[in-house]
């Protein structure tokens, strides 16, 4: 019998300038080279001249907590764990285990927004006129109280008898969590950063909706192996969740996997000598998920909310919102995993590798029927187990190890591919075949990128004038023609069709290789992806996208009249060609031009090391002395123009929204170092 009690406490505090890093980054992007940080270059006065600074923001002020205030987050985590372990005598391999964990997290946020002055210098009067930013100063405090408990009780039984090897356990687990929080806000007219010093006028005190949640599970496992040849593993979970209504809370989710080391079979061992290892794996598993279910099963009634209010008299009155009508059948959505794998090694495992096929089907995904129930019903509809989707793909890994004239080297390429589709999806009925094809997704691949095709560029007014499609009155040389896909004489939404995939790459691959010779060692790692498309926005696709702010120089390579003041539409005007259209025209921003292939392969890391001969330092007590030179992001091969393929864009790839571009750039680093072991 053993008992163990652990008690832990963590306090972490972070301090950030009050301005978000995103907006600071954007300000930096748009900072004109000729815009002074200081008005009249006088360090006494931070410049605030909106005619040169993006919306009059001064980056120096924004990154300085002394000037613009701070965001301080101060989180305390406390947890205590009791673990008991009891090996029952007389019965070998039988033991009882139990643990109880209590954790408390108390985030404590302070947002201090400080009002400050920037200045605009008037040469005439030689005065510095102040511009007030962030006025009034304000202080916001918020605190949360999150408590989690986790209890596990288990009985474990393992034994082996000759070739037979059995492991098993049965565990009961319960997890409970609850949360609550509130927030207070006050404006500061006196120079202080404390809530009590704030003004009563406009003060706010709000609280988030408190809540709690329980889950219980009974988990069982039985593993049987026979002489390392055959392996069978059976598991089950019996899960209960408080997110679901009475009677639908519990779900039973079994899973089974089996392995067969063919190479251990005599018929292989004796006959096929080349094959040193061959293993076939297969597994099927079910899982339940409640993650996307509302925290409580809906009940008839009305929920209070801060997001509804109306002024009766002089007071803002909070309101409430109807709950979804209850759905007594709401329950777990199910995940079915299918796996098939093959591991092999030949020539004494010089060449080894594994191939994996997988499929994950999810059924009973939660959604409401609002897609089919007429809006005139007006009810807020409950979640139901309606939809189904599938992920599938494969992965191949190879490793080759060998030695050649004292050089030990290895090569390890790997490639994987995945795709997802909707198997069944509740959708509003289409109203004709085309509508169905254009706007419906049930039974279809995900991540389809719809768009027009860019065709070619106009090079003269004459060409525009006589083009067989209307280009509008404003068209100039350098504009792009979109393809009239359906040949109806109009370029519009009906010419859009699948032109690429959105989301993550279709293929990811990489090659690790390296080797060692004498005291030298080398490690190289390439990584890349194929079939990934991105779209960029704002500063990356057009110059001066925020008026007179900084722009990227590559936009200079654009179509323009030889004489800047020339009349664009006069036949006399002479044009200078370029890669980009006339500034303000968007030929590079529409159709397939906008969708860029961000496939790439990149030398992610390279490391060259040399281990100094032992005799040099053996006496000094140093065991091992290695110096190395390493680099990160050294080489990139990509078709993408001017942009790093790993930078998130406006759409496609890993990006989530149009402004992800304003983040810290992907950088290249070199390291020289030594590692010393004593």
């Amino acid at each position: 019998m053993s008992a163990k009690v652990t008690i832990g406490a963590i306090i972490d505090e972070t301090n950030r300038p009050n301005s978000t890093s995103w907006s600071t980054m954007k300000t930096a992007w748009l900072m004109r080279p000729d815009a002074p940080f200081y008005a009249n270059d006088n360090p006494e006065f931070l410049n605030g001249d909106a005619s040169v600074l993006y919306v009059g923001r001064n980056i120096l002020a924004e990154i300085d907590p002394e000037i613009s205030g701070t965001n301080r987050s101060n989180t305390r985590r406390l947890n205590g764990t009791l673990q008991l372990n009891y090996n029952i005598p007389n019965i070998k391999g039988l033991s009882l285990k139990g643990s109880y964990d209590y954790a408390m997290e108390l985030p404590d946020e302070t947002r201090f927004k400080k009002s400050y002055n920037l200045f605009v210098y008037n040469p005439g009067t030689e005065e510095y006129t102040p511009v007030v930013i962030n006025s009034p100063s304000s202080i916001e405090r918020s605190a949360s109280f999150n408590i989690d408990t986790d209890m596990q009780l288990g009985i474990h039984y393992n034994f082996n008898l000759g070739e037979h090897d059995v492991k098993s356990f049965l565990i009961f687990e319960e997890a409970y969590s609850s949360w609550d929080n509130f927030r207070a806000y006050r404006e500061l007219l006196i120079d202080s950063e404390y809530l009590f010093a704030g003004e009563a006028l406009n003060q706010e005190g709000t609280g988030g909706t408190p809540g709690d949640r329980v889950s219980q599970s009974l988990i069982g496992s039985l593993t049987y192996a026979y002489s390392g040849k055959y392996l069978v593993d059976f598991r089950f979970r019996y899960d209960g969740s408080s997110r679901f209504p009475q009677g639908k809370r519990w779900g039973f989710f079994p899973s089974v996997s089996a392995g067969w080391r063919i190479s251990e079979e005599s018929f292989m061992k004796d006959n096929v000598a080349v094959i040193s290892n061959l293993k076939l794996r297969a597994s099927y598993g079910e899982m339940g998920d409640d993650g996307s279910a509302a925290n409580y099963p809906p009940v008839l009634g009305y929920g209070l909310t801060n997001s509804i209010g109306w002024m009766f008299g002089d007071a803002m009155n909070g309101g409430l919102r109807p709950q979804a009508i209850p759905n007594p059948n709401l329950t777990w959505y199910e995940i079915k995993m299918y796996n098939l794998g093959l591991d092999f090694g030949v020539f004494e495992n010089k060449l080894s590798g594994s191939f994996e096929l997988f499929r994950r089907d999810r059924t009973g995904l939660l959604a409401t029927s609002s897609a089919v129930v007429p809006g005139t019903v007006g009810a807020s509809l409950p979640q139901e187990n309606l939809n189904a989707d599938r992920n599938f793909g494969w992965e191949l890994t190879l490793t080759y190890l060998n030695e050649f004239k004292g050089v030990n080297y290895y090569i390890n390429p790997l490639i994987s591919s995945t795709r997802s589709m909707r198997i069944e999806w509740l959708e509003t009925p289409a109203n004709n075949q085309f509508d169905h094809w254009r706007n419906r997704t049930s039974g279809r691949y995900n991540n389809i990128w719809w768009g027009n095709e860019s065709e070619y560029m106009f090079t003269s007014l004459e060409e525009i004038r006589n083009h067989n499609l209307p280009m509008g009155q404003g068209a100039t040389p350098g504009d792009w023609i979109l393809n009239d896909w359906n040949e109806d004489g109009v370029i519009n939404g009906n010419d859009e069709h699948p032109i690429a995939t959105t989301g993550l790459p279709l293929f990811n691959y990489g090659i690790n290789m390296g080797g060692s010779w004498k005291n030298f060692d080398l490690a190289v790692n390439f990584q890349g992806s194929y079939g990934v498309f991105v779209e960029y926005g704002e500063v990356l696709i057009s110059p001066l996208s925020f008026g007179g702010n900084n722009s990227l120089s590559y936009f200079m390579d654009r179509w323009r009249p030889a004489d800047p003041n020339a009349d664009y539409f006069s036949t006399a005007t002479e044009w200078i060609p370029g890669y980009y259209p006339v500034t303000g025209h968007d030929g590079r921003r529409t159709g397939t031009n906008l969708v860029q292939d961000a496939s790439y392969i990149r030398l992610k890391t390279l490391e060259l090391g040399y281990t100094l001969p032992k005799n040099l330092y053996s006496k000094s007590g140093i065991e091992d002395f290695r110096v190395y030179l390493s680099g990160y992001n050294l080489l990139t091969f990509t078709g993408l123009k001017d942009v790093d393929p790993e930078r998130p864009g406006a759409a496609g790839g890993a990006s989530t929204n149009t402004v992800d571009v304003y983040n810290y750039p992907v950088n290249k680093t070199f390291t020289i170092g030594a590692s010393i072991k004593f």
Partner: protein, 244 residues
């Protein structure tokens, strides 16, 4: 043993292929085309690209999906009175030239669209615009034409007579230089034919002068409309005007 390996190989190739294709649904590929013919001239109706559309209603969809009611797709009609769309799904369609500058026509039912189907329509324009002249005097352009109403009974109000100038060969209400100096030169009427023209069945109109720029090439025409539905225009032919 071998079989297993073959099986795996086969599945690999399948999933490999599957992962690569963008969409697992087939694109539409049937083509529907034809002419809209002016009953009076027996030529295609004069118009501007996509001024108005032909509505097609997909009965196949309705029949295969009980409970749904098929709704129209608009087919654009081009300036030369030709329509064509090569990205439709095969099936049985009803067709109706709708909201055009002509007396309403009936829906043509049960047109079977296979790979390629042609369907022509003959219409009676509300108005006929003839004797179009464009006279250039320095940088002043004057347009004139004769507006005729073949059928006067029940003709909606004559709404306006308007000159259209364009920098491309496309000219009409969907493609024109839309600026005040020009639009203000249109003739707004909105009167019954009798009130505006009287007993006669036609009347001459002169518009302008339009200030044009030297060094420019314009494509010009006149359009006139009556107060029916969206007031689409009947046009004269297009004339090219090069301003020296």
């Amino acid at each position: 043993m071998k079989n297993i390996l073959y099986l795996i190989l086969a599945v690999t190739l399948l999933s490999f292929a599957a992962c690569q294709e963008i969409d697992n649904w087939d694109e539409p590929s049937a083509r529907l085309f034809g002419n809209v013919i002016d009953e009076y001239t027996n030529h295609n109706l004069l118009m501007d690209n996509n001024d108005w559309q032909i509505r097609i209603i997909d009965r196949t969809w309705e029949n295969n999906n009980p409970g749904t009611v098929a709704q129209f797709q608009p087919l654009a009609v081009m300036r030369d009175g030709v329509y064509n769309n090569s990205k439709l799904f095969s099936g049985i369609y009803d067709m109706l030239p709708y909201d055009g500058p002509f007396w309403p026509v009936d829906t043509v039912k049960g047109i079977i669209l296979d790979k390629e189907t042609q369907q022509n329509f003959t219409v009676k324009p509300y108005l006929q615009l003839t004797n179009f002249t464009a006279t250039l005097d320095g940088t002043n352009l004057t347009l004139s034409c004769n507006v005729k109403a073949p059928i006067v009974t029940d003709l909606p109000n004559l709404y306006e007579v308007k000159g259209f100038l364009s920098l491309t060969t496309f000219c009409g209400n969907s493609n024109y230089i839309n600026i005040g100096e020009y639009n203000n030169l249109r003739k707004s009427i909105n009167k019954t034919w009798a009130a505006e023209v009287g007993a006669a069945d036609s009347k001459d109109y002169t518009l302008g002068p339009f200030p044009v720029k030297s060094g420019y090439t314009y494509y010009v025409r006149i359009g006139a409309n009556v107060n029916a539905l969206s007031r689409r225009y009947n046009y004269t032919e297009i004339v090219k005007v090069v301003v020296p």
